[in-house]
Amino acid sequence: MEASQKQVGQPLSRLEGQLKVTGTAKYSGDYQVPGLLYGYVINSTITKGKITRLDTGRAKAVPGIVEVFTYENRPSLAWFDLQYADMDAPPGSPFRPLQDEEILYNGQPIGLVVAESFELARYGATLVEVECEEEAFETDLRKEASKARSPKIGMATMLKPLPPRPKGKFEKAYQESPAQVSAEYYHGTEHHNPLELFATTTIYEGDGKLTIYDKTQGTINSQLYVSNIFGLKYKDVRVISPYVGGAFGSALRPQYQLFLSVMAALELKQSVLVTLDRQQMFTFGHRPPTIQQTRFSADMDGKVTAMNHLAIGETSRFEDYTEVVVNWSHMLYPAANTLMQYKLVELDVYSPLDMRSPGGSTGMHAIESTMDELAYKTKIDPLQLRLINYSEDDVSLNRPYSSKELRQCYLQGAERFGWDKRSPEPRSMRRGNKLVGYGMATGIWEANQLPAKADAILTTDGKLRVNSAVTDIGTGTLTVMTQIAADELGMKIEDVEFLYGDSKKPFAPIQGGSFTVSTVGSAVKVAGAALKKKLFSIAKKMKDSVFSKADLKEVVFEDSRIFLRSDRSKSVSFLEIIEANGGKPIKVSKFSVPSLLKQKKYSRATHSAAFVEVEVDEQLGIVNVTRAITAVAAGKIINPKTARSQILGGMIWGISKALREETIQDFNLGKYMNQNLAEYHIPVHADIHELDVIFVEENDEIVNALGVKGVGEIGLVAMPPAIANAIYHATGKRINQLPIHFDSLL
């Protein structure tokens, strides 16, 4: 008999909900301390060159302006690249703010004005005179595509594998196949644009000690970064970040406001808040523009015979940022002949940075659009074509999946959507003056697990406290971890407290890649299990213990008590155990490490199928996603409510990627031109219509002890191609450049 009140699987509302709806949840720019100084960043207006003259005199003369920092007066800092490298740093030399007179990209931070008020700091920034000598630069990926080269290999390659080796004879097989399709795909730069502006409040505690409220996806990542660069002891740097106003990858790496805030606080021995403005939110990481070419072939029964996928991504001059773009098609479709290539072009831009479903959302757009074309070529229904090429195993690595319920995603999604009502020909469905199109696509994302640690403490009032340094970027981490911990110990939600978002707590890696629940959740589970063991051993040693002859397998933890399984009238409460422990809390710490030996025999991935209906106004070209369903197989769903929200969010990101968002570059200036939320378009409420999510049941005993796979990215990957395919079905026009604008449909 198991605990009666299982929390895992319950659609619990977010535990921090009340704090968020009342405005009491504090984000990194919300900490007001006496004497707080405000920093405002000055950015380069040229793209490449050298600063030849800097005059901060006028700014410094203004009463209330405390200091202006530039490369000329910054303190001496760490020397080696390694000291600037964070947990997510790609191979190369990380960018160093205020390093020297060199300008590497447009918008580079070149100064910080610190003043007694925000208004004065901002005003001071306009008074700093900067003269530069400009050098020639290049920011146009398509113009420089011929310079593409192989990426450098580094630590990041472990989590971001290079393309698989070629198989069979692609060229021959492709040429000999009766059905061939080839196309080129492109999407421009995208910026994460979380609604919260990047902000860091550094509280100067004296004696070289700092408390830092930082917008980050990894408190320990920021802590290590600050300690290494500024030569502080790890224990003297505490980074706190319980509420993060969205991040989507942008806070995986420490950004320059953290560096500047800490530098100013240490130099001035005062607390300093540095907040970026919306324009400055476009002056660090972004999704790289990517060119893709695909050539797929099939026989007339629809069996895919050969696949070639080439991607050329942008990177900076100083780091080799890579994404997994071309590895996915062969994980899905068992073609005998494959050729996958991935290359980079160096440009005078800041290093790109993981942005929700990095690589996957790029690659799947090309792969699933090409599959759609193949469906028309072979005159086979697009869904049927996927089923014909369905593979139970990961043929790219010749190993089985730990679990794969993609077939159920296809079937359940298609049924709820009404895919059978689709008439095969393009331009064959109408509603009033609108063309109607149905499109579908497959999604896949990896299910990784990293090491993490957690503390579990039974407090003196008989409650459970679990600690981890992990953040909650809005994904529901707090709620989900609390559910996992409650079930492990057989307790009620209200008796469990999960404390997080603090570098002083046990190690958690950066939060991203859909691996947080599997990583931190596993740590919570093993810590809970260790605590149970400890509680039981104390209970066993109690005077006249009912468990004197029992072992751990013979008891159940339920309602904050331990019961003898064979005789439920015999039990001990957690409070009695605390009493037996001399009234002291009982604490365990446990490291969870993925069982690599077990895992490496399997590929581990989440899957999805997206079905989309679009309406296209034939006269105006305006596209509306009127209806979309995503069916997801992501292992065990801990909380159906928050998980559904993750998928909905991913789907809306997919709509945005397909139809709205793009950072537009002026290659003559080397500058982004739409650095604001009026011109960087994301969907508004009026753009979003009927969305639905199906979680397909999937049991997985290999992926991790919880059987979870993560849901942060999988909602996005299938949507852009599903939308592009629906637009083709509606209009007969195949648009391979995202976002798809109305003018391309006229």
């Binding site: 977010r14 609604l195 502006l197 994904t475 508004v684 409420h685």
Partner: protein, 205 residues
């Protein structure tokens, strides 16, 4: 004759260019004057001093000593210490800073605090009596109408203002009239679900 431009058109065109030129020159002049003035004001303390602004925030009278270019948003956050109202763009483009001012929803970042001297402001901290939740706050929690929570104060204040306006009846109208409030996490459908639930409750009462 089929000429596209007549003489008169050409004349008008030249006059427009001339006029445009004048406007541009005047604008540049005005801008330079403004910068010079601002420089003088700030660099010579005493020329313009900060002044008293009286607001009633969430029912409490607040006296703030503010420079004239402090936005209502920064006054609320940095000076009145109510950080529930959020800054997402400072340009009136995202709606995160929405507050209710004299009964109407406004983006507080596009409003100077001095313009609202004597006004009654309701921020997210004051939409419900202390210890209680507004029906919209409850509905937002129930419908999971937020993820990161950063746009939430603005969404809720905006929805309260929208309902007062009484213009939106259908779901489509609510979507349209809430479109000034961006949500990047993609909680859009849940936000509208939450608002519709409260709107329908109100309609039945």
């Amino acid at each position: 004759m089929g000429s596209i431009f007549s003489f008169e058109d050409g004349f008008l065109f030249l006059r427009s260019i001339q006029l445009l030129g004048i406007i541009v020159i005047v604008s540049i002049d005005v801008y330079q004057c403004y910068i010079t003035m601002l420089t003088e004001i700030v660099e010579k303390p005493g020329l313009i001093r900060s002044g008293q602004v009286s607001l009633k925030v969430n029912g409490n009278p607040v006296q703030l000593n503010l420079l004239p270019w402090v936005s209502l948003l920064d006054a609320i956050r940095d000076h009145a210490g109510l950080t529930g109202t959020k800054k997402g763009c400072d340009h009136g483009q995202c709606g995160a800073c929405t507050v209710i001012c004299d009964g109407k929803r406004i983006v507080s970042c596009l409003t100077l605090a001095v313009m609202k001297d004597g006004s009654e402001i309701t921020t997210i901290e004051g939409v419900a009596p202390e210890g209680d939740l507004h029906p919209l706050q409850k509905a937002f929690i129930e419908h999971d109408a937020f993820q990161c929570g950063y746009c939430t104060p603005g969404q809720i204040c905006s929805a309260i203002g929208m309902m007062k306006e009484g213009k939106a009846k259908s779901r489509e109208e609510v979507k349209e009239l809430m479109s000034g409030n961006l949500c990047r996490c993609g909680a859009n459908t849940n936000i509208i679900d939450a608002i519709m639930e409260v709107q329908n409750q109100d309609a039945h009462e």
